[in-house]
Protein backbone atom coordinates (compact mmCIF):
# COMPACT_ATOMS: atom_id res chain seq x y z
CA UNK A 1 0.00 0.00 0.00
CA UNK A 2 1.30 3.44 -0.93
CA UNK A 3 2.34 5.70 1.90
CA UNK A 4 0.99 9.21 2.19
CA UNK A 5 3.43 11.98 1.32
CA UNK A 6 1.00 14.61 2.58
CA UNK A 7 -1.46 13.90 5.38
CA UNK A 8 -3.98 16.53 6.35
CA UNK A 9 -6.25 16.05 9.30
CA UNK A 10 -9.14 18.31 10.22
CA UNK A 11 -7.22 21.40 9.07
CA UNK A 12 -9.17 24.56 9.79
CA UNK A 13 -8.30 28.20 9.23
CA UNK A 14 -10.33 31.09 10.59
CA UNK A 15 -9.49 34.71 9.92
CA UNK A 16 -10.60 37.18 12.56
CA UNK A 17 -12.02 40.46 11.35
CA UNK A 18 -13.86 43.52 12.64
CA UNK A 19 -12.59 46.30 14.87
CA UNK A 20 -11.70 44.05 17.80
CA UNK A 21 -11.20 40.93 15.71
CA UNK A 22 -14.15 39.38 17.48
CA UNK A 23 -15.80 38.07 14.32
CA UNK A 24 -14.29 35.32 12.28
CA UNK A 25 -14.43 34.15 8.71
CA UNK A 26 -13.73 30.49 8.06
CA UNK A 27 -11.51 30.07 5.05
CA UNK A 28 -10.93 26.35 5.46
CA UNK A 29 -13.13 24.01 7.44
CA UNK A 30 -12.05 20.63 8.76
CA UNK A 31 -10.04 19.55 5.73
CA UNK A 32 -9.00 15.91 5.92
CA UNK A 33 -7.26 14.30 2.98
CA UNK A 34 -3.99 12.74 1.92
CA UNK A 35 -1.75 12.73 -1.11
CA UNK A 36 0.02 9.46 -1.79
CA UNK A 37 3.73 9.17 -2.42
CA UNK A 38 4.54 9.64 -6.12
CA UNK A 39 1.08 10.92 -6.95
CA UNK A 40 0.08 14.00 -8.93
CA UNK A 41 -2.81 15.52 -7.04
CA UNK A 42 -4.89 18.39 -8.37
CA UNK A 43 -6.62 20.76 -6.04
CA UNK A 44 -9.65 22.15 -7.82
CA UNK A 45 -11.95 24.92 -6.79
CA UNK A 46 -13.24 28.35 -7.74
CA UNK A 47 -11.48 31.52 -6.60
CA UNK A 48 -11.68 31.97 -2.82
CA UNK A 49 -12.50 28.29 -2.26
CA UNK A 50 -9.57 27.67 0.11
CA UNK A 51 -6.97 26.16 -2.25
CA UNK A 52 -4.27 28.74 -1.59
CA UNK A 53 -5.11 28.77 2.11
CA UNK A 54 -4.47 25.03 2.28
CA UNK A 55 -1.20 25.35 0.41
CA UNK A 56 -0.03 28.27 2.56
CA UNK A 57 -0.82 26.23 5.66
CA UNK A 58 1.22 23.33 4.32
CA UNK A 59 4.30 25.45 3.63
CA UNK A 60 4.04 27.36 6.91
CA UNK A 61 3.16 30.81 5.61
CA UNK A 62 0.03 30.83 7.77
CA UNK A 63 -0.87 28.83 10.83
CA UNK A 64 -3.91 26.59 11.35
CA UNK A 65 -6.67 27.48 13.78
CA UNK A 66 -7.18 23.75 14.32
CA UNK A 67 -6.02 20.46 12.90
CA UNK A 68 -2.68 19.09 11.83
CA UNK A 69 -0.79 18.20 8.69
CA UNK A 70 2.32 16.20 7.98
CA UNK A 71 4.55 16.13 4.94
CA UNK A 72 6.80 13.09 4.52
CA UNK A 73 5.96 12.16 8.08
CA UNK A 74 7.09 15.48 9.54
CA UNK A 75 4.82 18.09 11.06
CA UNK A 76 4.34 21.22 8.97
CA UNK A 77 5.70 23.19 11.92
CA UNK A 78 9.03 21.34 11.58
CA UNK A 79 11.29 23.56 9.50
CA UNK A 80 13.53 20.64 8.46
CA UNK A 81 10.60 19.40 6.36
CA UNK A 82 11.19 22.39 4.06
CA UNK A 83 14.40 20.79 2.76
CA UNK A 84 12.28 18.19 1.00
CA UNK A 85 9.55 20.40 -0.45
CA UNK A 86 9.44 22.81 -3.35
CA UNK A 87 6.86 25.57 -3.45
CA UNK A 88 5.66 27.87 -6.19
CA UNK A 89 3.52 30.72 -4.80
CA UNK A 90 0.50 32.00 -6.68
CA UNK A 91 1.47 34.91 -8.96
CA UNK A 92 5.05 34.75 -7.77
CA UNK A 93 7.15 37.85 -7.35
CA UNK A 94 10.84 37.81 -6.56
CA UNK A 95 13.64 40.23 -5.73
CA UNK A 96 13.54 42.30 -8.87
CA UNK A 97 17.07 43.65 -8.45
CA UNK A 98 18.45 40.14 -9.02
CA UNK A 99 18.88 38.27 -12.28
CA UNK A 100 17.27 34.84 -12.67
CA UNK A 101 20.63 33.12 -12.18
CA UNK A 102 21.37 35.17 -9.04
CA UNK A 103 17.95 34.46 -7.56
CA UNK A 104 18.26 30.72 -8.11
CA UNK A 105 21.78 30.75 -6.68
CA UNK A 106 20.49 32.67 -3.65
CA UNK A 107 17.76 30.11 -2.99
CA UNK A 108 20.15 27.20 -3.61
CA UNK A 109 22.40 28.48 -0.82
CA UNK A 110 19.73 27.54 1.73
CA UNK A 111 20.08 23.90 0.71
CA UNK A 112 23.73 23.32 1.66
CA UNK A 113 24.88 22.84 -1.91
CA UNK A 114 28.50 23.41 -2.95
CA UNK A 115 29.27 26.33 -5.28
CA UNK A 116 29.91 23.90 -8.14
CA UNK A 117 26.68 22.01 -7.54
CA UNK A 118 24.74 25.28 -7.25
CA UNK A 119 26.04 26.50 -10.57
CA UNK A 120 25.28 23.20 -12.29
CA UNK A 121 21.74 23.14 -10.91
CA UNK A 122 21.04 26.77 -11.74
CA UNK A 123 22.17 26.20 -15.33
CA UNK A 124 20.08 23.06 -15.60
CA UNK A 125 16.95 24.67 -14.21
CA UNK A 126 17.21 27.77 -16.39
CA UNK A 127 17.47 25.51 -19.41
CA UNK A 128 14.54 23.42 -18.25
CA UNK A 129 12.23 26.43 -17.93
CA UNK A 130 13.50 28.06 -21.12
CA UNK A 131 15.23 31.06 -19.54
CA UNK A 132 18.85 30.40 -20.52
CA UNK A 133 19.04 33.45 -22.73
CA UNK A 134 17.41 35.71 -20.12
CA UNK A 135 19.59 34.53 -17.23
CA UNK A 136 21.48 37.83 -16.90
CA UNK A 137 18.45 40.10 -17.11
CA UNK A 138 17.15 41.61 -13.87
CA UNK A 139 13.78 40.18 -12.84
CA UNK A 140 12.22 43.67 -12.90
CA UNK A 141 12.32 43.37 -16.69
CA UNK A 142 10.62 39.96 -16.75
CA UNK A 143 7.06 39.38 -17.95
CA UNK A 144 4.51 37.63 -15.75
CA UNK A 145 5.01 34.39 -17.64
CA UNK A 146 8.80 34.57 -17.24
CA UNK A 147 8.42 35.15 -13.49
CA UNK A 148 6.19 32.08 -13.35
CA UNK A 149 8.97 30.07 -15.00
CA UNK A 150 11.55 31.37 -12.55
CA UNK A 151 9.15 30.44 -9.77
CA UNK A 152 8.88 26.94 -11.08
CA UNK A 153 12.66 26.68 -11.41
CA UNK A 154 13.24 27.72 -7.79
CA UNK A 155 10.60 25.24 -6.63
CA UNK A 156 12.37 22.23 -8.14
CA UNK A 157 15.94 23.51 -7.95
CA UNK A 158 16.92 21.38 -4.94
CA UNK A 159 15.31 18.20 -6.27
CA UNK A 160 12.56 18.07 -3.61
CA UNK A 161 10.50 14.95 -2.94
CA UNK A 162 7.25 16.88 -2.70
CA UNK A 163 6.42 19.77 -5.04
CA UNK A 164 3.57 22.11 -4.17
CA UNK A 165 2.48 24.48 -6.92
CA UNK A 166 -0.14 27.18 -6.44
CA UNK A 167 -1.79 27.88 -9.81
CA UNK A 168 1.30 26.94 -11.85
CA UNK A 169 -0.35 27.63 -15.22
CA UNK A 170 -1.50 31.10 -14.27
CA UNK A 171 -0.17 33.85 -16.53
CA UNK A 172 1.38 31.50 -19.05
CA UNK A 173 0.81 31.44 -22.79
CA UNK A 174 -0.14 28.10 -24.45
CA UNK A 175 3.51 27.20 -25.01
CA UNK A 176 4.37 27.97 -21.41
CA UNK A 177 1.40 25.95 -20.17
CA UNK A 178 2.52 22.98 -22.17
CA UNK A 179 6.05 23.29 -20.81
CA UNK A 180 4.74 23.37 -17.25
CA UNK A 181 2.60 20.31 -17.94
CA UNK A 182 5.69 18.55 -19.30
CA UNK A 183 7.66 19.46 -16.18
CA UNK A 184 4.92 18.11 -13.93
CA UNK A 185 4.87 14.88 -15.93
CA UNK A 186 8.67 14.66 -15.67
CA UNK A 187 8.39 15.10 -11.91
CA UNK A 188 5.85 12.30 -11.80
CA UNK A 189 8.14 10.04 -13.83
CA UNK A 190 10.94 10.83 -11.39
CA UNK A 191 8.72 9.57 -8.58
CA UNK A 192 8.02 12.97 -7.03
CA UNK A 193 4.79 13.84 -5.31
CA UNK A 194 3.10 16.85 -6.86
CA UNK A 195 0.22 18.81 -5.37
CA UNK A 196 -1.00 21.67 -7.49
CA UNK A 197 -4.01 23.93 -7.39
CA UNK A 198 -5.90 25.01 -10.44
CA UNK A 199 -9.31 26.07 -11.60
CA UNK A 200 -8.70 24.76 -15.11
CA UNK A 201 -10.30 21.37 -15.50
CA UNK A 202 -8.37 20.28 -18.58
CA UNK A 203 -5.05 20.67 -16.73
CA UNK A 204 -6.29 18.45 -13.94
CA UNK A 205 -7.74 15.87 -16.33
CA UNK A 206 -4.49 15.69 -18.25
CA UNK A 207 -2.05 15.47 -15.34
CA UNK A 208 -3.65 14.22 -12.17
CA UNK A 209 -3.89 10.76 -10.70
CA UNK A 210 -6.46 12.15 -8.30
CA UNK A 211 -8.15 15.47 -7.71
CA UNK A 212 -9.81 17.04 -4.72
CA UNK A 213 -12.57 19.57 -5.19
CA UNK A 214 -12.86 22.30 -2.60
CA UNK A 215 -15.66 24.83 -2.51
CA UNK A 216 -16.43 27.31 0.24
CA UNK A 217 -13.56 26.02 2.38
CA UNK A 218 -14.94 22.49 2.42
CA UNK A 219 -13.68 19.45 0.56
CA UNK A 220 -16.48 18.21 -1.69
CA UNK A 221 -14.86 15.09 -3.07
CA UNK A 222 -11.60 13.29 -3.76
CA UNK A 223 -10.94 10.73 -6.47
CA UNK A 224 -9.83 10.16 -10.04
CA UNK A 225 -10.61 13.16 -12.29
CA UNK A 226 -13.21 11.20 -14.29
CA UNK A 227 -15.03 10.11 -11.15
CA UNK A 228 -15.04 13.47 -9.48
CA UNK A 229 -15.41 15.99 -12.25
CA UNK A 230 -16.24 13.68 -15.16
CA UNK A 231 -18.77 15.88 -16.81
CA UNK A 232 -21.15 14.14 -19.14
CA UNK A 233 -21.28 15.30 -22.72
CA UNK A 234 -24.29 17.53 -23.14
CA UNK A 235 -24.18 17.38 -26.94
CA UNK A 236 -21.90 16.73 -29.90
CA UNK A 237 -20.69 19.60 -32.03
CA UNK A 238 -19.97 19.01 -35.71
CA UNK A 239 -17.91 21.44 -37.78
CA UNK A 240 -18.15 20.93 -41.54
CA UNK A 241 -17.65 22.60 -44.89
CA UNK A 242 -20.43 22.62 -47.44
CA UNK A 243 -20.17 24.31 -50.83
CA UNK A 244 -23.67 23.57 -52.09
CA UNK A 245 -26.84 25.61 -51.71
CA UNK A 246 -27.92 25.97 -48.08
CA UNK A 247 -31.34 24.37 -48.70
CA UNK A 248 -29.46 21.20 -49.69
CA UNK A 249 -28.94 20.57 -45.94
CA UNK A 250 -32.64 19.81 -45.57
CA UNK A 251 -33.79 19.41 -41.97
CA UNK A 252 -30.38 20.39 -40.58
CA UNK A 253 -30.65 23.90 -41.96
CA UNK A 254 -32.60 25.19 -38.98
CA UNK A 255 -29.89 23.94 -36.56
CA UNK A 256 -26.70 25.22 -38.22
CA UNK A 257 -24.65 28.37 -37.77
CA UNK A 258 -22.90 29.47 -40.96
CA UNK A 259 -19.52 31.26 -41.23
CA UNK A 260 -18.57 31.50 -44.91
CA UNK A 261 -18.55 27.97 -46.27
CA UNK A 262 -18.18 26.51 -42.78
CA UNK A 263 -21.12 25.32 -40.73
CA UNK A 264 -21.42 24.39 -37.10
CA UNK A 265 -24.22 22.38 -35.51
CA UNK A 266 -24.95 20.69 -32.20
CA UNK A 267 -26.83 17.40 -32.00
CA UNK A 268 -27.67 14.93 -29.27
CA UNK A 269 -25.12 12.11 -28.84
CA UNK A 270 -27.73 9.58 -29.99
CA UNK A 271 -28.29 11.45 -33.25
CA UNK A 272 -24.58 11.81 -34.11
CA UNK A 273 -24.21 8.97 -36.60
CA UNK A 274 -27.44 9.74 -38.45
CA UNK A 275 -26.40 13.36 -38.81
CA UNK A 276 -22.90 12.45 -40.03
CA UNK A 277 -24.44 10.11 -42.61
CA UNK A 278 -26.79 12.83 -43.74
CA UNK A 279 -23.88 15.25 -44.16
CA UNK A 280 -21.88 12.67 -46.10
CA UNK A 281 -24.92 12.20 -48.32
CA UNK A 282 -24.87 15.86 -49.39
CA UNK A 283 -21.04 15.73 -49.84
CA UNK A 284 -20.28 17.97 -46.86
CA UNK A 285 -16.68 17.77 -45.59
CA UNK A 286 -16.64 17.03 -41.87
CA UNK A 287 -13.82 18.95 -40.18
CA UNK A 288 -14.29 17.97 -36.55
CA UNK A 289 -16.63 16.32 -34.05
CA UNK A 290 -16.22 17.36 -30.41
CA UNK A 291 -18.02 16.78 -27.15
CA UNK A 292 -19.79 19.75 -25.62
CA UNK A 293 -19.28 19.64 -21.85
CA UNK A 294 -20.45 21.83 -19.08
CA UNK A 295 -17.72 24.22 -17.91
CA UNK A 296 -15.99 23.76 -14.60
CA UNK A 297 -17.67 26.92 -13.40
CA UNK A 298 -21.02 25.27 -14.07
CA UNK A 299 -19.83 22.22 -12.18
CA UNK A 300 -18.81 24.34 -9.21
CA UNK A 301 -22.14 26.12 -9.32
CA UNK A 302 -23.86 22.76 -9.27
CA UNK A 303 -21.86 21.85 -6.17
CA UNK A 304 -22.84 24.94 -4.31
CA UNK A 305 -26.47 24.94 -5.32
CA UNK A 306 -27.32 23.15 -2.09
CA UNK A 307 -25.88 25.87 0.05
CA UNK A 308 -26.04 28.95 -2.10
CA UNK A 309 -25.94 31.17 0.93
CA UNK A 310 -22.50 29.87 1.79
CA UNK A 311 -21.36 30.31 -1.77
CA UNK A 312 -22.44 33.93 -1.58
CA UNK A 313 -20.47 34.38 1.62
CA UNK A 314 -17.38 32.97 -0.06
CA UNK A 315 -17.84 35.36 -2.96
CA UNK A 316 -18.21 38.34 -0.64
CA UNK A 317 -15.11 37.40 1.31
CA UNK A 318 -13.18 36.62 -1.87
CA UNK A 319 -9.81 38.30 -2.05
Amino acid sequence: MATAAIEIENLTKDYPFGFLHLKKRTSLEGLTMSVEDGEVFGFLGPNGAGKSTTIKLLVGLIFPTAGTARILGKSISDISMHADIGYLPEQPYFYDYLTAAELLDYFARFHDLSAQERKARVDRMLKKVGLETARKIQLRKYSKGMLQRVGLAQAILHDPKVVILDEPMSGLDPVGRREVRDIILELKQAGKTVLFSTHILSDAEMLCDRVGVIVGGKLRGVGAPDEIVGLKAEAMEILFEYAGAANGLGGLLSKVTQTGTRYRTQVAEADLYATVQQLCGVRAKILSVTQVKATLEEYFMHLVEGDRAQATAVEVSGK
Binding site: K56, L61, I62, I79, I85, Y87, F94, Y95, F110
Partner: protein, 258 residues
Amino acid sequence: MRRVGIVALNTFREAVRDRVLYNLVFFALVMIAASILVGQVSIGIEEMVIVTLGLSAISVIGLLIAVFIGVGLVSKEMDKRTLYALLAKPVHRWEFLLGKFGGLVLTLTVNTIAMAIGLFLALSLIKQSGEHVQGSVLVAVYFILLKLALVVALALLFSCFTTPLLSILYTAGLYIAGLFVMEMRTFQSDTMSLAMRSLLRWLSYLLPNFENFDVMAAAAHGRAIPTALIAQNTAYAALYCAVVLAAAAAIFTRRNLK
Protein backbone atom coordinates in the same frame (compact mmCIF):
# COMPACT_ATOMS: atom_id res chain seq x y z
CA MET B 1 24.00 31.54 11.47
CA ARG B 2 25.01 30.63 7.92
CA ARG B 3 21.46 31.27 6.72
CA VAL B 4 21.39 34.59 8.56
CA GLY B 5 24.51 35.55 6.64
CA ILE B 6 22.94 34.57 3.30
CA VAL B 7 19.92 36.81 3.95
CA ALA B 8 22.16 39.62 5.26
CA LEU B 9 24.37 39.63 2.19
CA ASN B 10 21.34 39.69 -0.07
CA THR B 11 19.89 42.61 1.89
CA PHE B 12 23.19 44.44 1.46
CA ARG B 13 23.15 43.64 -2.26
CA GLU B 14 19.61 45.05 -2.48
CA ALA B 15 20.72 48.31 -0.85
CA VAL B 16 23.68 48.62 -3.21
CA ARG B 17 21.60 47.88 -6.32
CA ASP B 18 18.84 50.24 -5.19
CA ARG B 19 21.56 52.90 -5.12
CA VAL B 20 21.26 53.59 -1.39
CA LEU B 21 25.00 54.29 -1.24
CA TYR B 22 24.54 57.17 -3.69
CA ASN B 23 23.96 59.31 -0.58
CA LEU B 24 27.73 59.26 -0.24
CA VAL B 25 27.94 61.60 -3.20
CA PHE B 26 25.72 64.05 -1.34
CA PHE B 27 27.86 63.70 1.77
CA ALA B 28 31.04 64.26 -0.24
CA LEU B 29 29.59 67.44 -1.73
CA VAL B 30 28.61 68.71 1.74
CA MET B 31 32.08 68.03 3.10
CA ILE B 32 33.86 69.64 0.14
CA ALA B 33 31.63 72.72 0.31
CA ALA B 34 32.07 72.92 4.08
CA SER B 35 35.86 72.63 3.83
CA ILE B 36 36.00 75.49 1.36
CA LEU B 37 33.55 77.73 3.22
CA VAL B 38 34.80 77.09 6.73
CA GLY B 39 38.29 78.21 5.83
CA GLN B 40 36.85 81.56 4.88
CA VAL B 41 34.31 82.22 7.63
CA SER B 42 35.88 80.76 10.76
CA ILE B 43 39.16 81.60 12.40
CA GLY B 44 40.79 79.00 14.60
CA ILE B 45 37.74 76.77 14.96
CA GLU B 46 37.77 75.18 11.53
CA GLU B 47 38.43 71.77 12.99
CA MET B 48 35.52 72.04 15.43
CA VAL B 49 33.12 73.18 12.72
CA ILE B 50 34.17 70.44 10.32
CA VAL B 51 33.88 67.74 12.99
CA THR B 52 30.45 68.95 14.10
CA LEU B 53 29.20 69.29 10.56
CA GLY B 54 30.64 65.95 9.46
CA LEU B 55 29.33 63.97 12.43
CA SER B 56 25.91 65.60 12.09
CA ALA B 57 25.77 64.68 8.42
CA ILE B 58 26.85 61.10 9.16
CA SER B 59 24.20 60.85 11.85
CA VAL B 60 21.33 62.40 9.86
CA ILE B 61 22.03 60.49 6.65
CA GLY B 62 22.41 57.27 8.62
CA LEU B 63 19.18 57.89 10.51
CA LEU B 64 17.27 58.54 7.30
CA ILE B 65 18.53 55.29 5.80
CA ALA B 66 17.95 53.33 9.02
CA VAL B 67 14.37 54.54 9.40
CA PHE B 68 13.17 54.61 5.81
CA ILE B 69 14.77 51.34 4.73
CA GLY B 70 14.37 49.70 8.15
CA VAL B 71 10.59 50.05 8.18
CA GLY B 72 10.39 48.34 4.80
CA LEU B 73 12.67 45.43 5.64
CA VAL B 74 9.80 43.09 6.46
CA SER B 75 6.68 44.95 5.32
CA LYS B 76 8.00 45.40 1.78
CA GLU B 77 8.74 41.70 1.55
CA MET B 78 5.24 40.92 2.79
CA ASP B 79 3.54 43.39 0.46
CA LYS B 80 5.47 42.21 -2.58
CA ARG B 81 5.28 38.60 -1.37
CA THR B 82 8.97 38.11 -2.10
CA LEU B 83 9.43 36.20 1.15
CA TYR B 84 6.86 33.49 0.29
CA ALA B 85 9.31 31.40 -1.70
CA LEU B 86 12.08 32.11 0.80
CA LEU B 87 10.12 31.01 3.87
CA ALA B 88 9.31 27.73 2.11
CA LYS B 89 13.04 26.98 2.20
CA PRO B 90 14.62 25.50 5.32
CA VAL B 91 15.02 28.86 7.03
CA HIS B 92 13.52 29.95 10.33
CA ARG B 93 11.63 33.19 10.43
CA TRP B 94 13.95 34.54 13.12
CA GLU B 95 16.91 33.78 10.84
CA PHE B 96 15.25 35.80 8.11
CA LEU B 97 14.68 38.71 10.52
CA LEU B 98 18.19 38.62 11.88
CA GLY B 99 19.52 38.48 8.32
CA LYS B 100 17.50 41.53 7.30
CA PHE B 101 18.77 43.38 10.38
CA GLY B 102 22.36 42.32 9.73
CA GLY B 103 22.11 43.31 6.07
CA LEU B 104 20.97 46.84 6.81
CA VAL B 105 23.48 47.27 9.62
CA LEU B 106 26.18 46.10 7.20
CA THR B 107 24.97 48.66 4.66
CA LEU B 108 25.04 51.39 7.30
CA THR B 109 28.49 50.31 8.46
CA VAL B 110 29.93 50.53 4.95
CA ASN B 111 28.15 53.85 4.46
CA THR B 112 29.32 55.26 7.78
CA ILE B 113 32.91 54.13 7.26
CA ALA B 114 32.96 55.76 3.82
CA MET B 115 31.55 58.98 5.29
CA ALA B 116 34.05 58.86 8.17
CA ILE B 117 36.89 58.57 5.64
CA GLY B 118 35.41 61.63 3.92
CA LEU B 119 35.34 63.48 7.23
CA PHE B 120 38.99 62.67 7.94
CA LEU B 121 39.93 63.77 4.44
CA ALA B 122 38.14 67.07 5.03
CA LEU B 123 39.96 67.46 8.35
CA SER B 124 43.26 66.83 6.64
CA LEU B 125 42.47 69.56 4.15
CA ILE B 126 41.96 72.12 6.93
CA LYS B 127 45.09 71.37 8.92
CA GLN B 128 46.91 68.58 10.61
CA SER B 129 44.53 67.29 13.28
CA GLY B 130 45.84 66.09 16.59
CA GLU B 131 45.62 62.40 17.40
CA HIS B 132 43.27 63.10 20.28
CA VAL B 133 40.76 64.71 17.89
CA GLN B 134 40.95 61.82 15.45
CA GLY B 135 40.49 59.31 18.26
CA SER B 136 37.43 61.11 19.62
CA VAL B 137 35.93 61.42 16.14
CA LEU B 138 36.41 57.69 15.59
CA VAL B 139 34.60 56.92 18.85
CA ALA B 140 31.83 59.36 17.93
CA VAL B 141 31.42 57.60 14.56
CA TYR B 142 31.31 54.25 16.37
CA PHE B 143 28.59 55.56 18.69
CA ILE B 144 26.60 56.78 15.70
CA LEU B 145 26.82 53.29 14.28
CA LEU B 146 25.57 51.78 17.56
CA LYS B 147 22.72 54.26 17.58
CA LEU B 148 21.82 53.38 13.98
CA ALA B 149 21.80 49.66 14.80
CA LEU B 150 19.34 50.38 17.60
CA VAL B 151 17.15 52.44 15.27
CA VAL B 152 17.19 49.65 12.67
CA ALA B 153 16.13 47.13 15.33
CA LEU B 154 13.21 49.38 16.35
CA ALA B 155 12.17 50.00 12.75
CA LEU B 156 12.33 46.26 12.09
CA LEU B 157 10.16 45.56 15.13
CA PHE B 158 7.44 47.95 13.96
CA SER B 159 7.81 46.67 10.41
CA CYS B 160 6.68 43.25 11.67
CA PHE B 161 3.21 44.31 12.70
CA THR B 162 2.22 47.68 11.29
CA THR B 163 2.24 49.77 8.15
CA PRO B 164 5.41 51.53 6.92
CA LEU B 165 3.94 54.97 7.64
CA LEU B 166 3.08 54.11 11.23
CA SER B 167 6.44 52.36 11.61
CA ILE B 168 8.18 55.58 10.59
CA LEU B 169 6.12 57.55 13.10
CA TYR B 170 6.74 55.09 15.93
CA THR B 171 10.46 54.77 15.21
CA ALA B 172 10.96 58.51 14.85
CA GLY B 173 8.86 59.11 17.97
CA LEU B 174 10.91 56.67 20.02
CA TYR B 175 14.12 58.17 18.70
CA ILE B 176 13.09 61.69 19.68
CA ALA B 177 11.83 60.52 23.08
CA GLY B 178 15.10 58.62 23.51
CA LEU B 179 17.03 61.87 23.18
CA PHE B 180 15.39 63.17 26.39
CA VAL B 181 15.49 60.19 28.73
CA MET B 182 17.87 61.85 31.17
CA GLU B 183 15.56 64.86 31.42
CA MET B 184 12.64 62.51 32.02
CA ARG B 185 14.54 60.75 34.76
CA THR B 186 15.57 63.86 36.60
CA PHE B 187 12.50 65.94 35.87
CA GLN B 188 10.79 66.89 39.12
CA SER B 189 7.77 69.11 39.42
CA ASP B 190 5.66 69.96 42.44
CA THR B 191 2.53 69.85 40.33
CA MET B 192 3.24 66.26 39.30
CA SER B 193 1.69 63.42 41.24
CA LEU B 194 3.82 60.67 42.70
CA ALA B 195 2.33 58.17 40.26
CA MET B 196 3.22 60.37 37.29
CA ARG B 197 6.78 60.83 38.54
CA SER B 198 7.10 57.10 38.98
CA LEU B 199 5.70 56.48 35.51
CA LEU B 200 8.12 58.94 33.95
CA ARG B 201 10.99 57.33 35.77
CA TRP B 202 10.03 53.85 34.56
CA LEU B 203 9.56 55.15 31.04
CA SER B 204 12.98 56.73 31.08
CA TYR B 205 14.49 53.30 31.76
CA LEU B 206 12.35 51.52 29.20
CA LEU B 207 12.92 53.94 26.34
CA PRO B 208 16.11 53.59 24.33
CA ASN B 209 18.64 56.04 25.70
CA PHE B 210 20.02 57.81 22.63
CA GLU B 211 21.50 60.61 24.69
CA ASN B 212 24.40 58.43 25.77
CA PHE B 213 25.50 57.99 22.17
CA ASP B 214 25.89 61.69 21.56
CA VAL B 215 29.55 62.64 22.10
CA MET B 216 29.70 65.14 19.27
CA ALA B 217 30.68 68.07 21.50
CA ALA B 218 33.50 66.09 23.10
CA ALA B 219 34.76 64.98 19.68
CA ALA B 220 34.60 68.52 18.29
CA HIS B 221 36.65 69.84 21.21
CA GLY B 222 39.06 66.93 21.05
CA ARG B 223 38.21 65.73 24.54
CA ALA B 224 39.00 62.10 25.24
CA ILE B 225 36.02 59.79 25.60
CA PRO B 226 36.21 57.46 28.61
CA THR B 227 36.75 53.80 27.83
CA ALA B 228 34.05 52.93 30.35
CA LEU B 229 31.50 54.85 28.26
CA ILE B 230 32.56 52.96 25.14
CA ALA B 231 32.10 49.63 26.93
CA GLN B 232 28.83 50.76 28.51
CA ASN B 233 27.34 51.99 25.21
CA THR B 234 28.45 48.87 23.37
CA ALA B 235 26.85 46.59 25.96
CA TYR B 236 23.72 48.74 26.13
CA ALA B 237 23.23 48.77 22.35
CA ALA B 238 23.87 45.02 22.08
CA LEU B 239 21.45 44.20 24.89
CA TYR B 240 18.75 46.60 23.71
CA CYS B 241 19.03 45.34 20.11
CA ALA B 242 18.81 41.74 21.35
CA VAL B 243 15.64 42.45 23.32
CA VAL B 244 14.00 44.38 20.45
CA LEU B 245 14.95 41.72 17.90
CA ALA B 246 13.65 38.97 20.19
CA ALA B 247 10.33 40.83 20.42
CA ALA B 248 10.28 41.25 16.63
CA ALA B 249 10.99 37.54 16.15
CA ALA B 250 8.25 36.60 18.63
CA ILE B 251 5.73 38.68 16.66
CA PHE B 252 6.89 37.68 13.19
CA THR B 253 7.10 33.97 14.01
CA ARG B 254 3.39 33.97 14.83
CA ARG B 255 2.31 36.21 12.01
CA ASN B 256 0.05 34.89 9.26
CA LEU B 257 1.18 36.14 5.88
CA LYS B 258 -1.50 37.49 3.56
